[in-house]
Symmetry: C2
Subunit: 334 residues, 2 copies
């Protein structure tokens, strides 16, 4: 059974995926999946015929439970202490969103309607998972391409993970947004949207409801934030009526990456407010509806993160964000 | 001139390395330096003959100032505000530690005496840089191998960077250690050392003054912490008289990686207490001598960090730390 272990200094939870012994040699494949055979017996191509395992099917989008981390929903989590270390046995839920039955590899090649179905599927599953009181957070994310943790030529899919703890980077954002609100009585993301709309120098693309910008303090080359123009802390509720508009935005951004940056690997993560906001933890969550603002981080993987960044959280970005935005703005997606 | 920019939500400082416009296409070399020609005109092989630029020479170790980030020490830093964004023009110091005049690529192949000289050089420069009142933090780190941000077949070197801000990951540790101390009246790292010495299941190697362990909540495969057994917050002061012992530890660990994991890329970062501890910032630093404990993080780069980890700080580790430690313990280094 998988285990969650907490770093006793910074409070970071780590998933220890396998508890059975395994020869370390098995993991030392530095080229990962790069040399893998292309498209042999893709298990996702026929998922709709197999049926039974789907937790959701909507048009040509199918969501299945994954066993990779032994992560079918379990009843009850077992929290223990080993000396100064905290452990939770069991993980939560891990679901795979098979974005189409066609063997496409990049979400950029799905049509807008299909991308909309994918976002609607995220929303439906997030709302369902929130009903389980043991979960504190839900993530929807995508890994495309080997350097982003995906497999080469893999069937386009994304992931939904529900966890009994709030991840460290998420907490950091929640706390930062709360601190800003406490001082300014305004949402920091709303202020970012206003300033970016005024200066326009970091805008990549704009739709009716969304703004795509390179962040002022970008960590990665061509890092992109998709910000809803209207405030809402929560993805499933904030997205209502805007699913199609978000699909247009995502399609255009992914096409710009594919065309302008030679089909790079990328990740995206939907950043939504945590569950169980009534419960008090390290901070009070009652103001979260006002101070947090859901958004999507889209991260092309063009350069590797070095030791300096890893050990310090202090990133070096080799191109000014204004130049990155200008470059992507000008990429024609046909 | 380079710029430091602050993320307005989480407070992370990012170095924007170049302010002149540069075609993004120039940066889209996903294979980085992997296909680079081996050893053409290495600039570090003859550094001791050129002399003039060295800021320190000790035996066969030479430290030179780098211009990569326009980062010769400047007088005065210019802090400005652009709407809600904070900016510092200028960076601090960036120095390159050329670890030997011989064209070796991996520190694992230096002899112990030479590694000792490298650690002594870190210490000397850290103490010198601390005298500059504009610096708040100093980092010593190494990138070995292309996937760790180093160049293939590059002359073995490490880096010293002094910054006018405290990096986010460092702050996180300082705050975590302080919170633990406030509750327990003990240093969290001292408690880790005690528990690891008792259980021994995560110890990779032990010397008179140091313990090398895989952390209980390891983020990365074969992540290793080198912990001083005796408490000290500060690398330059804590290391006095133990430089040779640390060199033995580092030599053995790097050899274990080289032999046992097929010469992987790796990074290490020396984590020491910040400068200017009298000044009050986001927290009070007066207790830092008691609550912080310097150490080294050594991170082999066997797997890529995917979007899930990137967006959430929630890592997945595929082998239990106890198995990793056992594997490295058993690797013979000859």
């Amino acid at each position: 059974m998988p285990q969650l272990r907490k770093d006793p200094v910074v409070g970071r939870w780590v998933i220890i995926a396998k508890t059975r012994a395994r020869r370390p040699g098995n993991f030392v494949d530095r080229n990962d999946h790069e040399h893998e055979e292309v498209h042999r017996e893709c298990p996702f191509c026929n998922v709709q015929q197999e049926g039974g395992d789907s937790v959701l099917s909507s048009g040509d989008v199918h969501i299945v439970s994954s066993e990779v981390y032994g992560s079918k929903q379990r009843k009850g989590l077992h929290r223990t202490k080993r000396g100064l270390y905290d452990v939770i046995n069991g993980l939560g839920a891990h679901e795979i969103v098979i974005e189409t039955s066609e063997h496409l590899t990049n979400m950029a090649d799905l049509n807008v309607d299909q991308i909309q179905l994918v976002f609607e599927a995220y929303s439906a599953r997030m709302q369902e998972l929130e009903k389980n009181a043991q979960f504190r957070y839900v993530l929807a994310y995508k890994n495309y391409g080997p350097t982003a943790g995906g497999r080469k030529s893999a069937h386009t899919c994304s992931h939904i993970v529900a966890t009994p703890v709030r991840p460290l980077r998420v907490k950091e954002k929640l706390i930062g947004a709360k601190n800003y609100f406490d001082i300014n009585n305004r949402c920091v993301y709303c202020d970012i949207v206003a300033q970016e709309l005024q200066s326009r120098e970091r805008i990549i693309y704009e739709t009716e409801h969304f703004l795509a910008v390179t962040p002022f303090a970008a960590r990665l080359l061509f890092e992109t934030w998709i910000l809803p123009k209207v405030h809402h802390c929560d993805f499933p509720k904030g997205i209502v009526g805007k699913e199609g508009d978000l699909a247009v935005m995502m399609k255009i951004l992914l096409k710009k990456l594919q065309v302008g940056l030679d089909d790079p690997a990328y990740n995206f993560v939907v950043q939504t407010a945590p569950f169980a906001r009534g419960s008090l933890g390290e901070r009070k969550w009652e103001s979260i509806e006002k101070d947090y603002h859901w958004h999507i981080e889209l991260m092309p993987r063009l350069t590797r993160v070095a030791g300096f960044e890893k050990g310090t959280g202090f990133y070096i970005c080799a191109i000014p964000p204004e130049n990155m935005a200008q470059y992507l703005r000008e990429v024609e997606t046909g």
